[in-house]
């Protein structure tokens, strides 16, 4: 589904990613861990098409298409979803408006007609209840005045409604208390399926207690320095990141 080969990327003249290789198959959950400044968020941003980065070498293919060439909205319509670390407040645009606009953009992209208003409302309300959100949130401006937990839940709500194929979660656990984390994790788990993949960027092992990854990769200084199963996350929790960084420096 997603294949990253030898990806190098700069911010300005500064190299941030220095040769990332990663293959994600349908249904898999990959956790990308690493210390601050290792390039985790940069990787998430480049996958979603945020401007401000220059890809200097390598490739990213998604469903056999060149992802880097696509505009951010085309990636989104093709099924790539980024759950933001800091979801943006959009005063004046209601949640329900955005959801409808997004869903219809996807449907148009797929050659389908606009969603029926009643079907849409039924769909949305079902997901709202699943995430234990108040229906009133739908009619409020996107993320405006939401607490940190509400914003993250709102991201998962959007994900649940847009049904992407590749979900990129950027530090979704940051700023969440344990109750909110559980609800968000349950939301993500309910979306797991054989043809949907996840790339979770996280600093802490905590999230992985609730969303069990198939693979864990450690990113340091712009490269994946170690890959393994869920047990790698436990090891990191115990030893920290420095032993891997030291090893990388030695090599």
């Amino acid at each position: 589904m997603l294949s990253i080969k030898n990806l190098h990327a700069n911010v300005g003249d500064k190299p941030i990613l220095k040769g990332i290789n990663l293959d994600v198959n349908p249904g898999e959950i990959h956790a990308i861990m690493g210390p601050n400044g290792s390039g985790k968020s940069t990787l998430a941003h480049i996958l979603s098409g945020k401007s401000g980065y220059t890809v200097t070498a390598g490739s990213v293919t998604y469903d056999n298409k060149d992802l880097i060439e696509m505009a951010p909205e085309i990636r989104a319509r093709e099924g790539v979803f980024l759950a933001f670390q800091y979801p943006v407040e959009i005063p004046g645009v209601s949640n329900i408006y955005l959801l409808k606009a997004a869903l219809n953009a996807i449907r148009k992209h797929q050659g389908l007609s606009e969603v029926d208003a009643m079907d849409f409302l039924t769909l949305v309300k079902g997901k709202v209840h699943m995430l234990e959100m108040d229906e009133k949130f739908l009619y409020r401006a996107v993320n405006e005045g939401f607490s940190g937990g509400e914003k993250k839940r709102n991201e998962i709500l959007q994900m649940a409604i847009l049904e992407p194929k590749l979900c990129i979660l950027d530090e979704t656990d940051s700023g969440l208390d344990i109750d909110a984390l559980k609800i968000v994790a349950e939301g993500v788990n309910s979306l797991r399926s054989a043809d949907r993949s996840f790339v979770m960027v996280t600093h802490y092992q905590r999230l992985l207690d609730y969303i069990k990854p198939d693979f864990v990769h450690v990113l340091a200084n712009g490269q994946i320095v170690k890959s393994g199963g869920p047990e790698l996350a436990m090891e990191l929790e115990e030893k920290g990141y420095s032993w891997l960084e030291d090893k990388q420096a030695a090599a």
Partner: protein
């Protein structure tokens, strides 16, 4: 310097002087004479005047607009007016129509209007209840305020007079439609609105034109509205300024609020080549005022809003939010002044002005001024001038929205906050339509709003 060099307008005055309404009223004759003298000396305001430093009205002097003393060819105008009213007249309101600055009873729709409430043309009010008018006209704003006031006082041909007696609550809004049909004309109206103690009303001023966009179709609106809100009375006043693209507009609203009065103003400034609004409010003890504004400028429009909130007595509160969206080479001006007098303790005041620039050549000039002479008050102000937020655009793109639509959605959302404050459904929809018509709306789905 001779007076003739300041303005060419006074030289023309004698041709109309004897035909202006209220000739038999000595107090009005004196007021007009004083105004004419003042205007002759000063001419129109100049950018050297601090309150006019961003707005140069010298084009009005160059044009030499002429007033009309009676409506031209009303019978042939009627279909024009009827067609025009379709776009602007609100169905759930009483309508008062002024054509080229003159009240038209024939075009006004006042079926079922409560008898106790007066609504009529100013000329009629001056002949039927001159004592009442005398007590109010010129009392909320003086000729000395600035030259447009003097100009209006000397030249006004008609206007609107509304008197809502104590405890009367108007069940429907009154819409005052100022229509301009003649090129080179000036519509100089003096309007007086009196809301007595414990009365309530909603009044909508709409300024527009039936003229096409041709270069020659320039005209001037110079309107002054004096408003008196009695004790515990409540007035919501809307201004929809949709003048034609070649029009010059000056519209001043001067309000006096008695104790415990409430006044709310919504100012939608969309039209005109050069448009200036004054909204000045004197607050009584424990009264409230809310000033909302939205100005949208495209092409080479120049839109200036000048507000002044005078906290004269203790315990009053004021809220002000003005938003501007400026595209192309348009220029928006906001000057907001809040004055808190020495004994106006416990004043609670908040003033905000937000500007969104859509083009590199658009300009916003914003000048908030707080003058506080009391020591136990809560006053704040905030001002921003900026462009669309790139983070917001990317967020929407990551949610499948293309960049152009994202920009339109954000622009619209910015303006829509002010539209949403309008609680009268038909007016809300009409304002919304005006907003959408003025900005690119590709991808903005009105049905979902």
């Amino acid at each position: 310097m001779t007076t003739a060099t300041m303005s060419r307008y006074p030289a023309e005055y004698h041709t109309i002087a004897t035909k202006l309404p209220g000739q038999d009223l000595p107090w009005l004759k004196a007021l007009r004479a004083q105004a004419l003298e003042k205007f002759s000396i000063n001419g129109f305001p100049s950018p050297r005047d601090e309150d006019w430093r961003y707005t140069n009205v010298s084009a009005i002097e160059k044009k030499l607009f002429c007033p009309l003393l009676e409506i031209k060819n009303l019978s042939s105008l009627k279909p024009v007016v009827a067609e025009w009213m379709k776009s602007y007249q609100l169905q759930d309101a009483w309508s008062v129509v002024l054509i080229d600055g003159l009240f038209s009873a024939e075009c006004s729709v006042l079926n079922g209007f409560p008898e106790a409430v007066s609504v009529m043309g100013m000329a009629e009010a001056l002949s039927t209840q001159p004592e009442l008018v005398e007590n109010y006209l010129g009392h909320a704003v003086k000729n000395s305020e600035h030259s447009f006031i003097a100009f209006n006082t000397a030249w006004f041909t008609d206007g609107l007079f509304v008197h809502v007696p104590a405890k009367q609550v108007l069940e429907k809004p009154i819409q005052v439609l100022h229509l301009n049909t003649q090129a080179e004309n000036m519509a100089t109206t003096r309007n007086v609105i009196i809301i007595d103690d414990m009365a309530e009303a909603q009044i909508i001023e709409t300024y527009a034109s039936s003229l096409s966009k041709d270069e020659a179709n320039s005209y001037l609106t110079a309107a002054v509205t004096e408003v008196f809100v009695g004790r515990n009375a409540n007035l919501t006043l809307f201004k929809m300024q949709c003048e034609s693209e070649k029009a010059y507009h000056f519209g001043g609203i001067y309000v006096k609020e008695a104790q415990d009065a409430r006044f709310c103003h919504h100012n939608f400034a969309f039209g005109g080549l050069l448009a200036r609004s004054d909204i000045h409010v004197d607050l009584g003890k424990a009264s409230e005022c809310e000033l909302n504004g939205l100005y949208l400028g495209v092409n080479r429009q120049h839109i200036d809003n000048h507000t002044r909130i005078n906290h004269l007595e203790p315990h009053a509160s004021s809220r002000e939010m003005y938003k501007g969206v400026l595209d192309d080479r348009a220029r928006g001006v906001f000057q907001g002044r809040v004055i808190v007098a020495e004994n106006a303790q416990k004043t609670d005041s908040q003033m905000n002005n937000r500007n969104l620039l859509l083009s590199n050549e658009a300009e916003a000039d914003t000048k908030p001024q707080l003058e506080i002479y009391a020591d136990d008050v809560k006053c704040g102000h905030g001002v921003t001038v900026g462009q669309l937020d790139e983070k917001s655009i990317f967020y929407l793109q990551s949610r499948c929205i293309d960049e152009e639509t994202a920009r339109n959605m954000l622009t619209f959302a910015f303006a829509n906050e002010m539209v949403d404050k309008v609680e009268i459904k038909s007016l809300h929809d009409s304002v919304l339509e005006q907003v959408l018509a003025r900005f690119p709306q590709e991808g903005v789905n009105k049905e979902w709003l």
